[in-house]
Subunit: 329 residues, 2 copies
DNA sequence: TTGTATGCGTTATCAG
DNA sequence: CTGATAACGCATACAA
């Protein structure tokens, strides 16, 4: 109970023998007489003064904080996103308020309300609720989901990635391709992975099949799908493009249990660019999302919102990366 | 520029025809006449009022925010920790201020100063700087690193984990063991993994070798170490306990390049309990850290710091989990 | 019970 | 350029 509370600007002013306003100016780097500045800085050091950001926020109505709404940090792709967004914010002297939705649509809505209590200066959100109502009085940027032209969306070139995967598989000698994904019925940017893939197959006159599962569906349906495609101990598909690296990893294990060899019998390309332990080799051959660029784009957009000339869709280029599940590895 | 700013308690009071103080009481759930409460709640709903947490923080000198200082979120173990700590905080209506040090010792120090500007109610830190000076006027909890009896440290039972690994390897038929790690010279809780392993080997009269690399050392030294232990195409160690799952994964790849089979020729146990994509199967056979319990312990400790009866070391039990790199998988 | 008045730490205005 | 003072939104002690 004897905790003497942290020194304030008034304490510094008294210690330095100057006025309160002078201290404020020194702290904020505004022009001040040299001898005054010296006295103030000395007093600050002596007292170990740190400015109180609540007081500052209250006064100037700005918190230097951005909220990031995202399902979790367990999924390595989200973890990477969180990391780079935080670094991009830190570089600009902004704090990050992290909100995990756990894919819960009601939580997505609640958080949007909740972070307003904290008077965050902006929101970056990766959500799944199609009916989300976006506040229009606070800078808002979404990732991978387009709401309207007035809500900037940052995404990687999902269509181009699907297209690239199909071309790559052909280039690697595949004769018949398959696309496999799982995900909500929701039409979001990642849905375009399939569109690009299909477009490329059609363009190349490459035969292909599509297998899409909805979110709750049992995984065994994939196994059934693959089993159905076995003709005399070989899969009649020799190249698979799979919606995410995570799913690709699971599918590969199914294939191995079916005694099919990857990449000898069937080549596999995933999507995301996940690496083992975050920084080692890629988990599978994959289309890599430019996570750092995505993070930078989100941050610059959410912070420059007062300029009304931000594009409504920012689409960043992807790259192919061999990772052991294709014959070029 | 025509942004009408968010409504305040005064606006609500005016709208409801009551006094400012009454609104405050309603918002904070203090006893208020029923008809007043109704009027206020109606006004709040009508105006879409959200209380301003800066004003509140300034007044009561409490931010409902805890800082988490950690190297990054790319390492899956840290990502898991961040996730569970955030969930534990959210459950108690606390916010998390995330600070990534990138293993930079000076950043660790800077952040400790920096978060005090934000008047966080406490700090949870996983750091590497041995000379870190811990503030004594703010609740502080460390993970995996013991500073002094006045700074609570939460860790899993690293010694017990090392002990368990050695016993498990013996149980699985190993005749000669090896311990491999990489890490700073710093003595922290994870260093005890080796101690427990060595103690168990001595106790069981099990022959063993230790190979420890310092942080910057070239990885090739591990390869040399292993190569030195090859006797007529077999490793003369048939069980390896490795400091982390991440390193275990890398070592296994080295072994495979050396044409040694895991687990047939050599069994491997890691430490941490990392799973593929956060929720699939374990990456290697491993000693699992109870991350959720660690997170809960950190949060309850940092929040209950005003009770001076917190233990100075909270040691949580670990478990063995087979993951394909031992013969029990 | 309800209303009023004060101060938390800061920034900004305005008169010296 | 400096110094006194008001206001930001809220909680609370105190008066009604």
């Amino acid at each position: 109970m004897h905790e003497k509370s942290a020194p304030t600007m008034a304490d510094v002013a008294r210690e330095a023998g100057v006025a309160l306003g002078t201290v404020s100016k020194v702290v904020n780097g505004q022009p001040v007489g040299e001898e005054y500045r010296a006295k103030v800085e000395e007093a600050i050091a002596r007292l170990g003064y740190q400015y109180n950001s609540s007081g500052r926020a209250l006064r100037i109505d700005q918190t230097n904080t951005i909220a990031l709404i995202i399902p979790n940090t367990i999924n390595p792709y989200f973890a990477l996103l969180v990391h780079h967004i935080n670094m991009a914010l830190e570089k600009r002297n902004y704090r990050m308020l992290l909100c995990f939705t756990q894919y819960d649509q009601s939580r997505e809505m609640e958080y949007i309300q909740m972070v307003r209590q904290n008077r965050v200066d902006g929101i970056i959100a990766l959500t799944y609720n199609p009916d989300l109502v976006i506040p229009d009085d606070i800078p808002f940027v979404t990732i991978d989901r387009f709401f309207s032209v007035s809500v900037p969306c940052v995404a990687s070139d999902n269509f181009g990635g699907g297209w690239l995967a199909a071309h790559k598989l052909k280039e690697l000698g595949c004769r018949k391709l398959g696309f496999i994904r799982v995900g909500s019925t929701l039409t979001n940017e990642p849905s375009k992975r399939k569109d690009g893939f299909v477009a490329a197959c059609v363009e190349m006159a490459m035969p292909f099949e599509v297998m899409a599962l909805e979110d709750g569906a049992p995984f065994s349906q994939f196994e059934d799908f693959l089993a159905r495609h076995v003709k005399n101990k070989k899969l009649d598909l020799d190249g698979l493009f799979i919606g995410t690296d995570s799913l690709a990893w699971q599918i590969i294990h199914v294939l191995q249990r079916m005694k099919l060899r990857v990449p000898e019998d069937v080549q596999v390309i995933g999507f995301d660019g996940i690496r083992m332990f975050g920084d080692l080799e890629p988990v599978v051959s994959t289309i890599v999302q430019p996570v750092q660029e995505i993070a930078e784009a989100c941050v610059t957009t959410v912070l420059s919102k007062h300029l009304s000339n931000v594009p409504s869709l920012i689409c960043l280029p992807v790259q192919y990366l061999a990772g052991g599940t294709t014959k070029d590895s």
